[in-house]
Symmetry: C2
Subunit: 325 residues, 2 copies
């Protein structure tokens, strides 16, 4: 398919076109990159906006079950839902294409849903760029909600929080009154803490955990982009499909409050600027690896430094001079 | 002082010349940078090597007291000791020049000692570069041991471990059998764990903590650069000046073992290569902020992106094209 056709099919909402466009932006081939830029430009011109929900939860909290139940509820309300995964660790395992679709079996069979696993990129910067671009493509394809999920490891949570409109932390009921070692920084990013598995035997523990987190959240400084009462902690049961409607109502209320007061648009504008600047930085650094002659020079100077024949700072100055500017 | 004179005085072991040379490499002025490169090149030609010891310990473990006692012991053995601090958080507090000298009062008055606080740099990359260069300058000035100390926050420990020959973790006695929440990654970087305050009332707790860590260390995979029995946990008392000689003997034994087997030189070669590559990356990125015209263009394109008049990826491509290459 030619790029104009791909963009047209994408904007018409075709899921196969969306999948192909994401594959295109994931490619590192220079000719693919030019085509990807054209599709992204067409996507931006479509001027569509989805609600971007970042969702973090460590393995074992029931994240897949939650996304499946929550996604199906939205689909049943007539909404189109895209799910993107951000998992830098999947670079090692080579991704989990089958895994992602298998673990959200019912949702993946819905025509109004689109599920895309994490790309197998070697570094977080690559995953970040691809995810930001995939979000734009999902929005252009007419999806109403884009769920960006991540496991709670390293910096991927910050990355997801930065590219989302709302950031949700999914937790399991805690034993006793411990706060599960959730880092303060992560709590400060959360708009909503959902304690899953509030069903059966675990329900009392889940409710107690909600109350512990509600207390901890009250100690945080109120943020200007939050109405009274936010960030909030709520119990949900993805398995029993309980509490999901209330969680969704809270997300919508928060988003609407921010839209009405301009925080939503201001946040998006700042995100776009940061995305642009990150892209420029990554593009500059890519010059070190793209051209074989540059790569060879970097290697040779590195060898000289390692062998003690040149001082690192001096060799770096020489390398930079050879790159012009 | 002209740069050739500065380099000559530095290599003659003059501490004031060393302090001025470090100030020079910390400067961000382009003309200072050229002079700094000349001094670094002269320093590298001196071909001297110190033992670089990285030391991490959170506030409260008695790090300053340890450095003072340990440093004085080395000075009394006829060694020259430099202490460099790496504390990215000091960027906010504006450094702690007085603080560092005050808290190591006796050591700072020794002619064979040199103490330098953390620079007030805005980002970890800047602190990293300055510290690597300051290490080289201390080596050229004939110091035998360079202690690079850091508080255990964020990535500063990894940074210090990467630029040191040996990495020491200083801990306080723990209550009960808890392992003080020391992250596995930090433990894996440590060559030696020293449990401080093994004196008075705390001695039994310190010995128990040593034994807990010794057990935990035995569970780690043996590293090729380690002889049998390493990494080790030992009790010390900086206050009672107890155990310091044994700790120093262990450090020397480990360094000698690695020297004999080539691990030491291989590690240094790899460090130098990484330093060079980091320097090249930072130099490339600095082009975005150095030239006012480039900075203005980046700002204008960022504004266009924030206002929704341009797609981030497209604007980034335009910016990169304007930077050539």
């Amino acid at each position: 398919m030619q790029q104009p056709d791909l963009a047209t099919a994408l904007i018409a909402g075709d899921r196969r076109a969306l999948a192909r466009a994401i594959t295109l932006v994931e490619s590192t081939r220079p000719d693919h990159r030019a085509a990807a830029l054209a599709v992204l430009e067409a996507a931006a011109r479509a001027g569509r906006q989805a609600l971007r929900i970042g969702l973090s939860g460590t393995p074992g909290v029931g994240k897949s079950t939650f996304i499946e139940s929550f996604g199906l509820m939205l689909v049943n309300q007539g909404l189109r839902v895209a799910v993107l995964a951000v998992d830098p660790s999947s670079a090692r395992s080579g991704g989990s294409i089958l895994g992602d679709k298998t673990r959200m079996d019912r949702l993946s069979r819905e025509p109004a849903a689109f599920i895309r696993p994490s790309p197998s990129q070697a570094h977080l910067g690559g995953v970040a760029r691809r995810t930001r671009e995939a979000i734009s493509l999902c929005e252009a394809a007419g999806f109403d909600v884009v769920l960006i999920e991540t496991v709670g490891v390293g910096q991927s949570e910050t990355l997801v929080a930065e590219m989302a409109d709302l950031f949700i932390l999914l937790l399991a009921p805690a034993g006793g009154d411990e706060l599960q070692g959730v880092k303060r920084g992560i709590m400060e990013m959360a708009d909503l803490i959902l304690v899953n598995k509030a069903d059966g035997d675990l329900k009392p523990a889940a409710l107690r955990t909600v109350s512990d987190y509600a207390g901890a959240l009250r100690l945080l400084r109120k943020r200007p982009q939050d109405p009274e009462g936010f960030p909030k902690a709520l119990p949900v049961s993805a398995l029993a499909e309980d509490g999901l409607a209330q969680a969704w109502a809270e997300m919508q209320a928060l988003a609407q409050w921010r839209r009405d007061r301009g925080h939503f648009a201001a946040h998006r504008a700042e995100q776009a600027r940061q995305w642009f600047e990150a892209e420029v930085r990554e593009g500059l650094l890519a010059r070190l690896t793209r051209d074989p002659a540059v790569r060879a020079r970097l290697g040779a100077l590195g060898d000289a430094v390692a062998a003690g024949r040149a001082a690192p700072a001096q060799a770096a100055a020489e390398m930079l001079a050879s790159l012009g500017g």
